[in-house]
Symmetry: C2
């Protein structure tokens, strides 16, 4: 049931633009392959720039290729309200991961035009460069450089599998822009994105009010036992690295479940050596990661896991080496911005729930400098990074409408 | 302390021959690469044939390349006593796996000559073709064809990775012999072999009195869950194929240990899909095998394992498909032949223990037609199928001396 507003975005126009953009890099199976800084990405960017300019926006490009499309406000001294996402995709990606936030943002701009609204603050739509990290191995590159987390020169020097650097690729498609690739003052940042998980769909919610991003800790693990003949080595003489690794996999799952529905614990990668049918495995290499919205909970996991995994290894007669790859702190979003998302969903009568982002997003880096919030919409079966990624037009419309409400409210707020 | 016999084999001559044979296909790391039916194998066979003929033996070759070297007995009507093993090796094999049994057998023949012994029954030394299965993917080929377990024409048609068939390879090295490759009547078969396991070394025993071979059951397993984002998928929505597989790996180990030191249960091979750090694994493919000397115990394992693994899979929300690859019955050796090994070791004052073979050996197939026993000797750290495979000269000598005693006793026995 539509809520109480007569300021509505155009859901059909948004959907048509999503489908039209999805033709750029379309794959036979209905997905998108729009790898960052390729000729296909250039066509997507050119199309985006043309649509922005047709909507009267002023487009700037910075030195890492981030694109900013500004619509002036009534008060030129107010800080802009930013919103956007990314147009690059995974190698076998879907139509909506990233594109929904950028094109939904463009629909907000068009609707502001159609409704003849002049906001108090300027509003500015962003297309961040290389969110996916699929080509140069470094995700969140554009927002990371902008936020000062990644060094621009280091980012320039990254190469793809054919040895092409980021700088060469940027120059090649003409998106090494004149603006400095550093954070500028802004009043807020909003990002609309598909959930990339199953929670909203399962609970039949239209809107996820994203309150922040999880804390994470990632490890590399190597279990070293002794490979030996499976038929001749009795139980007491075995040092089976796979039995050790298996018990650690089980430990990770149990430690996750002990934290309830907010816990995440995963072994995604595991390699067995020598990986021969009748040889007891002598070495197993595997990844371990934990995530939780509560910073302190990840600290506890980080203290408990190495200790308990060590007990398992000792029981197995196996040496277990754990290397901590990184520890990402929890990133809570700005309560006032989150509240604007909550109010927008409520005003429109959309079913909604609070949710913590499990995936990385540009918003997580931007949030270090700018008050930030995100809006999630459901996606079919929780699938993304997949050509089968799918959402419904009314889901895109609902997310865009909430983005519109939040941006408008923030841009017109009474400054404290 | 040497036991009571003045009929001694020549330990130094045996060791020199082992070292000399190990030069044929020697690897830089001190191992041997003598893949079946290659030019290197031909050089090993030619050398073996020449040594046999120099010792006065009559060498016959059958249609699968098995070589038989006969020394006549006093009574030409008595069935021959066979003994031997194989001269082919793993790609990165050791000096002793197989070679000890063949060259130890040749030392028995030479010692019979030196001691001027005429046995009642003929004695016959065998070099079985392709025990290892490394080149054509089918282990125990020569003894399998001879025993009627493998069809000769099917064996001929097997190809190596370059498309060369067994028949072509046999013809190529001139070892496609005129004798039929079928079992002929024999009075006994003895095989001397390194243990390929750690038990004798650990218990400081010189001789393993092999009472038979384990029963085995082998499975292929496929766990199918749902791959999804490690950060966004909550515990209740996970169908983690690796957590399921890990718990089955643990089950296999626990089921093995519940059977004490005679049990064997191993997952040697395991592949994870998509095997990406932040993706919950959607599919895991792995091998499972159980072995036990007691036929009934393997029947129980074969009944219990699929049931308990099924419970685990159900708990994980994962589909588990088990395919039974094969079920090999236990192969007890002939009590009278085993007793001759026991008596030989006792007479010589060697420390000994009964042991069940966990590995496959030509003797296991031969035992289907001929009363059979095996003699094990220790090997360093239980290692084999490895260039680091190592034994001591006195260990080889002890095994060969026991073989001599057993062969002589059997060949001179009073027929019932």
């Amino acid at each position: 049931m539509p809520g109480q507003t007569n300021q509505r975005i155009d859901g059909k126009r948004l959907w048509d633009l999503l489908m039209s953009m999805a033709e750029i890099g379309a794959t036979p199976k209905g997905g998108v392959r729009r790898l960052t800084l390729t000729e296909v990405d250039k066509r997507g960017r050119d199309r985006f720039r043309a649509e922005c300019e047709a909507a009267g926006l002023t487009v700037r490009v910075d030195a890492i290729g981030n694109m900013f499309a500004r619509r002036p406000g009534r008060d030129p001294n107010r800080l802009p309200v930013l919103f956007g996402s990314h147009l690059d995709s995974q190698p076998s990606g879907g139509k909506f991961d990233g594109a929904l936030g950028v094109l939904g943002g463009l629909e907000v701009m068009r609707s502001l035009n159609d409704l003849g609204i002049v906001t108090e603050a300027p509003v500015e739509l962003v297309n961040w460069t290389d969110e996916e990290g699929s080509r140069f191995g470094h995700s969140l590159m554009g927002s990371g450089v902008w936020s000062g987390i990644y060094d621009l020169d280091k980012a320039y020097g990254l190469t793809d599998t054919e040895g092409v650097t980021v700088q060469t690729a940027l120059d090649g498609i003409g998106y090494n822009g004149p603006e400095p690739a550093t954070a500028f003052p802004a009043d807020a940042y909003f990002e609309l994105h598909i959930e990339q998980g199953p929670i909203l769909e399962r609970e039949v919610k239209q809107i996820g009010i994203v309150t922040g991003a999880q804390a994470q800790v990632w490890y590399d693990a190597v279990a070293t036992g002794q490979d030996s003949h499976a038929g001749t080595t009795p139980p007491s003489a075995r040092k089976d690295a796979l039995v050790c690794a298996a018990r650690v996999v089980d430990l990770v799952d149990r430690m996750m479940r002990a934290r309830g529905e907010d816990g995440r614990g995963t072994v995604g990668q595991l390699h067995v050596l020598p990986n021969s049918r009748n040889v007891i495995p002598g070495e197993v290499r595997f990844s371990v990661e934990f995530r939780h919205p509560d910073e302190a909970e990840v600290d506890r996991l980080d203290a408990q896991f190495p200790r308990e995994a060590g007990f398992i290894a000792r029981d197995c007669g196996v040496a277990l080496e754990l290397t901590k790859l990184f520890r990402i702190p929890a990133q809570p979003f700005d309560p006032a911005c989150v509240d604007l998302v909550r109010q927008g969903a409520a005003k429109l009568g959309y079913s909604a729930r609070e949710i913590v982002s499990g995936a990385g997003h540009d918003a997580v880096y931007v949030a270090r400098h700018v008050p930030t919030a995100m809006i999630f919409t459901p996606c079919k079966d929780g699938l993304s990074h997949n050509e089968a990624e799918s959402i419904q037009p009314e889901e895109a419309e609902a997310g865009c409408q909430v983005l519109f409400e939040a941006v408008l409210a923030r841009a017109n707020r009474t400054l404290p």
